[in-house]
Symmetry: C2
Subunit: 469 residues, 2 copies
Amino acid sequence: MNFISGTYTDQYQLTMAQVYFHNDGEYQDAVFDYFFRKSPFDGGYTIFAGLENLIDILEDLSFSKQDIDYLRTQGFDQKFLQYLKDFKFTGKVYSVNEGDIVFPLRPVVRIEGNIIEAQIIETLLLNILNFQSLIATKASRIRLVAPHQSLIDFGMRRAQGLGSYHASRAAIIGGFDASSHVMAGRDFGIPVSGTMAHSFIQSYNDELTAFRAFAKSRPDDCVLLVDTYNTLKSGVPNAIKVAKEMEEEGYKLNGVRLDSGDLAYLAKRTREILDQEGLEYVKIAASNQLDEFVIKSLLEQGAPIDVMGIGTSLVTGNPDGALDGVYKLAFTKGKARIKLSENKAKVTLPGKKQVFRLRDDQQHLIGADVVTLDDENLVDEMFHPFETDKSLKFPDCQQEPLLKMVMKNGKRLNKVKSLREIQKYSKERLAELPLEFKRFDNPHIYKIGLSKKLTDLRNRLISEEKRKQ
Amino acid sequence: MNFISGTYTDQYQLTMAQVYFHNDGEYQDAVFDYFFRKSPFDGGYTIFAGLENLIDILEDLSFSKQDIDYLRTQGFDQKFLQYLKDFKFTGKVYSVNEGDIVFPLRPVVRIEGNIIEAQIIETLLLNILNFQSLIATKASRIRLVAPHQSLIDFGMRRAQGLGSYHASRAAIIGGFDASSHVMAGRDFGIPVSGTMAHSFIQSYNDELTAFRAFAKSRPDDCVLLVDTYNTLKSGVPNAIKVAKEMEEEGYKLNGVRLDSGDLAYLAKRTREILDQEGLEYVKIAASNQLDEFVIKSLLEQGAPIDVMGIGTSLVTGNPDGALDGVYKLAFTKGKARIKLSENKAKVTLPGKKQVFRLRDDQQHLIGADVVTLDDENLVDEMFHPFETDKSLKFPDCQQEPLLKMVMKNGKRLNKVKSLREIQKYSKERLAELPLEFKRFDNPHIYKIGLSKKLTDLRNRLISEEKRKQ
C-alpha cells in the first residue's frame, strides 16, 4: 500500500539502527518474536489477523526521497541515510496462519533478519498485527452469539481515523459478512452493503415519497429505514405499501431497518405485521449500539432480526482498544537472548523457537500449545512456563507445527490468500476449540508449555543475566 | 493525502447519492451540522481537532479510474458513474477554529453544498473529526495534570492501525510536545523523539558497552534506558559512568529512562543518585502504561519525572475509544429540517445556524454558548434546549461568533495553520475555561441555549412532523 513507507516507525528504531549500522549491524543476525500477554476482552482466545497485509508492506518497504530529505533534517548522518536510501527488508518471516486461534505468551510471528531491518520493521508489525487481531477477535465474539444472522460492519464513522480501513478487513476474518466501507471493499474484496440514512428520508417532504424514490433507483437491493418518524405507525406501513408496489413491478423489497428504540419489541411487532401482509420474505435489519452482549440479549428475547449492523464497538475493539502484543529479541550474535523482569510472566523466551499444537488420538485439541527450540523434533513432555518444576507428559499427542516460513529474502513465498479463504480457515480453527474456552465469563485457560530444552536454556540464561546485575 | 479517495465513505452515501443524482440532486442545496452529544471521558469539554486535514482532503477529493471501475462492479449505473468521475466537492464549510473548546449539542461544523456532495463527504468528515477530537481531548487531560513536564506520544505500536498517523497529530493539538511517529513528524512538522529499546541493550553482551556505543553515535541526544537488568544497581550506575565519559568529550547526557517497576520510587532514588554525582542536568524520563490518572498520582507523590512517554491510553482514547459525533440534515429544498426522536436530547436543531460564545464585561466566559439562526444578530435571551419554558437573559454579554467560513466553492479560504499555531490557540482557549469545567469527576456543565427564533422554529417543526406520524 502506497501510504506506508520506512518512516512508518518509531524514531528510536532509526536511532538504534544508526548505531547498529556503524557497528556492522548489516551483518548481525537477529531473531525477534511477536507475541502478546493477554487475550483481549478477558476472553479465552485471540484470532490472529493482519499477516497478508504485513507481507505486502514488507515486500515494498522503502524510504522515498522525501523520507530521506526529512531524516536528514533530523540529525541522521549521511552514510546511514545512504544506507536507508537503498533499504529493503531482506529477512525471513515465520508465522502462524492468518485467521488461526492464538494464545498468550507463545510466539505468533518470528522475524529473522539483520538487526537493522528487524528493528526498523518492529513498529509497523506491531501496529498492523495488534490492531487487526483485536478487531478479528471482537468480530468472532459477535459471530459466536449470532451464528445465523448476516453481520455487517457499519463502524467507519466512529473508527479511529484511517484505522477504519484495516478494521473492516479484520471484521471479515472474524466472521462478518460485509462492510459499509467502500474503499475496504475495493481493496480487500469485501462485500459492501448499505442503503439509506435518516437524512435521505428527511430530505423528502414525506416518508412514502422517499421510500418510493429509493425503491425506484435500487429495486434489487432495497432496504428501507423505517424509524425516522414512527416505526410501527409510519415506517412499517409505508414500507409495506412500497413492497406491494414493487411486487407489481416484479421486484421484492429486501428488508426494513430499525435504528432506534427497543429493538427486541420493534423487531417482533414488525415481523408480525410484515407476515400478516404476506411479506415473509422481507428481512429485518437492526443497528444502534450493538455489541456481543446486546446481540446475545436480543436473540435470547427471540427478536427476529436477520441482519445486524455493528459499528463503534466492533471497529474500536471496545472496551479494550488495544491488543498488548510485543516484539522481543530472542537471538543475536550467535547467542540466545532473554529479557528479565521482576514480573515472572514478563521474562521472555530465548532462542529460535517453534510452537506445536497438541491433539489427542481422536484429533481433538487437548487445550495446549508447546513451545520448543526450532531444531527440536517432537517432544513428549512440557514444563510450566513459570513454575518449572511442574510438567506434563503427552506421549500420544499429535503435534502440528504452527510457525511456517512465509517470507524469505524479503519475498513472499506463497500466493496471496483471499479474505474469504482466511475467514473460512479461521472458522474451522475456532470450531475446533471447545466451548469452555469461548465463553465470555472466566473462560477456560488454554495452556502453554515449554520443552525441556527450552526450559533448560531459559534457566541457564536467567542465571547468567542475574550475575550481570 | 493520497490515501483517501471518494471511496473513503460508507456504501449508503453512494446509494443515496445515486437516487439524488437521478432527481436533480446536483441542484438541491443542503445544510448539514456536525456535532456530538457527549464529551468524552465523562469530561466537561472537548478539544476540536482534524479541521485542517479535513479541508485538505475535501479540496482533493475525487474518484480515481480504479474507484469508478470498482463501483461499476457494484451495480451503480453508467450516468451516475460518469458524474462521479468528474466529482469534486464544491460546497462551503463553516467551522469552529481547530483547537477550540467545544461542547455537546451545538454545531461544530456546518456543511453547505448540493445534497450529493454533502452526503458523500459525511463519513470521512465524521471519521476524521471524531477521532482527532477524541485524542486531542485525551492529550489535553494529560497536559492538565502535567503542566511542566515534556509529554511525548509513544503510542504507534498499540494504535488502531493507520489511525496512529492522525493520533500523533491530535496529541500535539491537545498539548503534547513530541511524538515517536516518524511519518507523522515528516508530514505534520511534529518534533519527533526516541532513543533506544531494551532490545538494543540486550543485543550487546553487557549494558555498559551498549550505553557507550549509543552515546558515541548520538552524543547530543542521548537518553539511556536503565531498567533492562536492574535500574538502581546496574542501569543508573552505568549511565553515570557514561555521563562522566561524555563530559570528558564535551557532551552532556540528556537523560535516563525508566520503563518498569515503581516509577515514583525509582524516579526519586534515581534523582538522588544522579544529584549526588553532580549530574543535576540529567533528566529523568518515564514510560509504562501512563495515563492522566497514573501521572497525577506520580506527581502528587513528588516523583521527579521530567519527561513522560505516553502510549496506548493516549492514542486509543482509552477508555472511550470514540467520540459520538453525528452529521445531521438541517435544511434542504428551501426548508429547515428536523429529526425527531423519543429521546428529547436526540431531536436535532433545524435550520442554518450560528453559535455564539458568551463573555461577561470582564471578558470572562460565563459558561454558555448560544445557538441562533444564521441570520440573527446579537440576542439577549436564550432558552433551554429541552425545557423550552426555561430561559435566561444576558443583556450585557459579549458574543463571539464561532462558526466561520473556511471553504467556499470547495476551496480553502485561509492559509494552512501550523500545528504549533493550533496548539497555542487551543491552550489559550482552554485556559479561559474555569477549573470547575476541567475537573475529572463530575465537571460543571457548560450550558447550551437556543435563541427565541430557533426555539420557535424548532417547536413549529416538531408539531408539523408529529402530524405526519
